[in-house]
């Protein structure tokens, strides 16, 4: 007892001692603080007083010039120009509306300018300098200069502006820059890059402008200037120049891109063309598109509403994010899966009655051709796109093996292209369905997966990538949009992407078989024979049709619109020339009907231009002038 009590007393005494030590430490620490303040606020007071009140050293950032974006042949897709802007700092004004009203008597300010300005005002801080008018001409600059004394808080600035000289051409690749908002600022702070953006107003928001922001932006310089109390610079103390952003050279051939965008005319859809030999993306089309110039200094409400509320969703990048059932374009890959797993040989044939049923099941999975195709072997199954053949093959492969094989070609996950916001699509499997819906897999779902329907969704980029891999004899190369980064000062090119390449585990003779079948698709008797008519080169392809499932209830009343919006999507994958291909592509025409009649001609036009230099619009207009009206 007494020992324990003594222990307890001992312990209490020890605790008191240590608490006392902590108290002493606290007093010492606070004394250090007090000493530091005495130093700063008393002995160095005059020094800091001078810095703060009479002559301030202010650090003025020097904003670097943003790098250019060029196509593969050096054509400028994004550049900068210098212009005068009229800028207002709302926090320095007593009455913003009155000031703007008075300003509009000196310099013209349109209602559009006002709307854009009020949108800017919403997402900025009151001490930001915001442009109310862009691109002032010399006369306007002079007129404002005379009246300047009336407008404290309003200034004219010479600034560099971003410009996309080709307008909406390749907008989904380039993306755009926009004013830095709170979210951008937070991101920059997280990456510890906010100091490099002092003085910068803009940042890449979408596309290459965003994905290559770091290279395009450059390094901000700074100048230490001594200023008087009014903030006027007295003299420069030190200057560290900015380093301009690097130029980014794309793999895109802008002429090819132009041809592709024009071929779509008013239709919705997407196209991705890849050089199968090195993974360079030659064209990446998503239509309809938009003019990125609208976004640079804040888009006005009317334009924003028009783009954002359009049922055609022009702001969506269909090539990267559009998820479409791949439909029959998957059949060459299925045939390869059959050969690789040994479930089918080159001569495996079936008799097609026009439908397929699971053993013991009564449901008939119908072929697109009522009555069937008769005797169909593996090659013919690709050439005429026999559904029944692939229902059976999918059942024999089973879904998990099917998914495992297709995953090699990049289905079900992003390709890893060097541009932000790519979708991964869906490659269904038992595992996937359990995770996604917490449901078991049904055998019937395997059957329709065999013709690329059901849960399966692929992006046009994934389809083009997979097609390029076939064209390249099974060598999978990661697609990319940037060829080189060029330091603007030295002009030295530096290769950016070492394309990641993997040889797939498929036999050369199996690939050769599938390529031969795809070539036959474009020959008489094949589903794309018409599109290949009189071509001066051989090409290979596969047509597809994707069902647009489900009709939204809200749209039911408008019968004409429902009919148009819910027509099937037309698909086509292809590469050319059939021997030693130099271009592989995937085309999707939304609600275009059949792949052979709508999507394949688009591919033909691309090949004609890329391989022969033919511009389709001119030739067509001469031959069939009445066709334009019909469309």
């Amino acid at each position: 007892m007494s020992v324990a009590l003594r222990d307890r007393l001992q312990e209490t005494r020890e605790f008191r001692l240590r608490l006392g030590l902590i108290a002493a430490f606290i007093v010492i620490a606070f004394a250090v603080l007090a000493a530091r303040w005495a130093y700063l606020q008393v002995s160095q007071h005059a020094h800091y007083q001078t810095l703060a009140e009479n002559n301030r050293i202010s650090i003025v950032p020097i904003v670097p010039n943003r790098g250019l974006i060029l196509d593969r042949n050096g054509i400028v897709l994004a550049d900068n120009y210098s212009a005068y802007t009229l800028e207002v700092t709302p926090g320095k004004l007593r009455n913003l509306d009155a000031t703007i009203a008075a300003l509009s008597e000196v310099v013209e300010i349109t209602p559009r300018d006002r709307k854009r300005f009020s949108k800017l005002l919403e997402d900025s801080h009151s001490f930001d300098s915001l442009p109310i008018r862009l691109r002032l001409n010399d006369e306007e600059v002079a007129r404002f200069a005379v009246n300047r004394y009336r407008f404290p808080g309003v200034e004219i600035n010479a600034r560099l502006f971003r410009r996309y000289p080709l307008g909406q051409r390749a907008a989904h690749v380039l993306g755009y820059i926009g004013r830095i908002n709170d979210k951008d600022l937070q991101d920059l702070e997280t990456r510890e890059e906010s100091s490099n953006y002092r003085g910068s107003d803009h940042i890449g928001k979408v596309g290459i402008e965003k994905s290559y922001e770091k290279q395009l932006h450059g390094v901000t310089g700074f100048e230490e200037v001594e200023t008087d109390a009014g903030g006027r610079a007295l003299r420069s103390l030190k200057r560290n120049e900015a380093t301009s952003g690097s130029d980014v050279v794309l793999t895109i051939d802008i002429k090819l891109q132009e041809v592709a965008e024009n071929v779509f005319a008013e239709r919705r859809g997407a196209l991705v063309a890849i050089d199968p030999r090195n993974g360079e993306v030659l064209a990446l089309v998503s239509v309809p598109t938009y003019d990125p110039n609208l976004f640079i200094d804040g888009i006005d409400q009317a334009n924003w509403d028009a783009l954002n509320n359009s049922p055609d969703t022009p702001l969506t990048n269909r090539a990267l994010r559009g998820a479409y059932p791949p439909g029959s374009t998957i059949k060459p890959f299925m045939a390869l899966a059959g050969l690789t797993t040994g479930k089918r040989g080159p001569s495996s044939a079936i008799h097609d009655p026009g439908f397929f049923s699971l053993p013991g099941g009564s449901h008939r999975y119908r072929d697109w051709k009522a009555g069937g195709h008769g005797v169909v072997d593996l090659k013919k199954s690709v050439v005429i796109s026999c559904d029944t053949y692939y229902y059976g093959l999918a059942r024999d492969l089973e879904i998990d093996a099917l998914a495992e094989f297709m995953a090699q070609f990049g289905f079900g996950r992003p390709t890893g292209i060097d541009i932000e916001n790519e979708a991964g699509g869906v490659l269904p499997s038992r595992e996937w369905k359990r995770k996604r819906f917490k449901q078991v897999w049904y055998p019937g779902e395997t059957v329709i997966a065999g013709i690329g329907q059901g849960y399966w969704q692929a992006t046009p980029l994934q389809l083009a990538h997979a097609t390029a891999t076939i064209a390249n004899d099974g060598l999978l190369i990661r697609p990319h949009l940037v060829r080189a980064i060029r330091a603007s000062a030295s002009g030295a090119e530096q290769q950016t992407i070492k394309p990641l390449a993997t040889q797939l585990n498929v036999r050369a003779d199996h690939i050769a078989f599938v390529k031969d079948a795809m070539h036959a698709v474009t020959l008489p008797g094949g589903t794309a024979a018409r599109a290949a008519d009189k071509a001066e080169y051989a090409f290979a392809g596969k047509t597809g049709t994707a069902q647009v499932i489900g009709i939204k209830q809200s749209e039911k009343y408008d019968e004409k619109k429902v009919a148009e919006r819910h027509r099937d999507h037309a698909l086509f994958i292809a590469y050319a020339p059939a021997q030693n291909p130099t271009i592989a592509l995937a085309v999707i025409v939304e609600n275009g009907g059949h792949g052979g009649s709508t999507a394949a001609p688009v591919a033909r036009a691309i090949f004609d231009y890329y391989l022969l230099g033919k511009v389709p619009g001119a030739a067509q207009a001469e031959e069939e002038p009445e066709d334009a009206e019909h469309d």
């Binding site: 608490l19 250090v32 603080l33 800091y48 703060a52 100091s195």
Partner: protein, 369 residues
């Protein structure tokens, strides 16, 4: 009228739990915070209103905490700690990434940072452990205690949140020290820590190293972190002995000072109220801390006194680290000035701590043995 008497009894019982001194000192700091905030935010009443709301919420929570008895805290020590560690693991596995760090956990519509919970769960757990092992402390016990500190600290460092990890570990280390960690071990650990500095340096992120280097030479990075230090120093130094007066600080109002309502609010205070203001603020902090230490001294059980000591010392650390970094003698880590900086979660954390202190004091032995 028995009802009235009853109400009077309950009112007394409710109010009796609060400690007048702690309330007075913390109230003074919070009011001072509002006054400086009004100036620092550019006379933005909305900001002041937001902060008032933060204070009100924190006060409400404190009213609940005050009524939790230390006995009850002892009982929940282990579950609370285990819950905290599990939540930190959950954060590492499927936490939300915000601003590049994985710190947040979402349950339905509510999201929170488990590392905030750990600021209490850890000292409560350690205090419980040392009380349980009272009088029989061996080297082994300190190893266990070190493990109890290291597990959450490692998980928080990984988020990454170096500042919070240091503060959470500090609260544990203070407790170890108060529990009677032998001097041999303390010196040994000090030597070990000194020796492992180069190793620690090699494990830091580039940006964390940059912060330390910037402290040594702010001119190196005049646009980034060095800029904060340079401008904060100018603000404080130009304040002089009595300051430029409320609402008359030029540095702060001309947009020179970053984060001037949150982590750097002390620079605004120092500029407007000068050395006299700074020293007065220091005195209020000292009074509050002194009261906390006194509560620790008078506490009934080893659990209570260890917990009170650790909470008070951690509170001191917040204040010292914040004022030290704004004054340019400590590296910039994101620590708010307790009770003064704008922000809801730090206000809540500190008020909970004060609530625990008050509860411990309400349960002190009435006769000193």
């Amino acid at each position: 009228m028995p009802n009235t008497i009853n109400i009077g009894y309950w009112v007394n019982r409710f109010l009796g739990r609060f400690d007048g001194w702690l309330l007075a000192f913390s109230g003074a700091l919070a009011v001072l915070g509002l006054v400086v905030l009004y100036s620092a935010s550019g006379q933005d009443m909305d900001r002041v209103g937001d902060q008032l709301r933060n204070i009100a919420i924190a006060l409400l929570v404190m009213c609940v905490v005050v009524h939790l008895s230390p006995k009850w805290l002892e009982q929940i020590a282990v579950p609370l700690y285990v819950l905290g560690v599990l939540m930190l693991i959950a954060v590492a596995l499927f936490g939300q990434v915000r601003l590049g760090a994985r710190r947040w956990l979402s349950v339905g519509p509510i999201s929170f940072q488990p590392s905030e919970l750990m600021k209490f769960a850890l000292p409560i757990m350690l205090a419980w452990y040392f009380q349980k092992r009272e009088g029989r402390l061996h080297f082994f016990d300190f190893c266990v205690a070190a493990l109890i500190v290291a597990i959450p600290a490692a998980l928080i460092v990984r988020q990454p949140d170096l500042g919070t990890a240091l503060l959470v570990s500090a609260s544990g280390i203070y407790l170890l020290f108060l529990a009677g960690l032998s001097w041999k071990l303390i010196i040994g650990m000090g030597v070990l820590a000194g020796a492992s500095l180069p190793l620690a340096w090699s494990m830091l992120h580039d940006y964390q190293r940059q912060r330390v280097l910037t402290l040594l030479d702010p001119a190196q990075d005049p646009l980034g972190a060095g800029y904060h230090i340079i401008q904060a120093t100018i603000a404080i130094g130009s304040g002089g002995s009595v300051g430029k007066g409320w609402l008359h600080g030029t540095q702060a109002h001309l947009d020179f000072l970053p984060e001037r309502t949150t982590d750097f609010i002390f620079a605004v205070f120092g500029e407007e109220f000068g050395l006299a203001g700074n020293l007065s603020l220091l005195v209020v902090y000292l009074c509050l801390i002194g009261r906390g230490l006194y509560i620790a001294l008078r506490a009934a059980t080893p659990f209570s006194r260890l917990l009170a000591g650790s909470i008070t010392t951690t509170f001191f650390t917040y204040a010292f680290v914040n004022m030290g970094m704004v004054s340019g003698i400590l590296p910039v880590v994101g620590v708010p000035l307790p009770l003064v900086s704008y922000g809801g979660s730090s206000m809540l954390t500190i008020m909970i701590g004060l609530g625990i202190l008050m509860s411990i004091h309400a349960h002190r032995p009435l006769v000193q043995g």
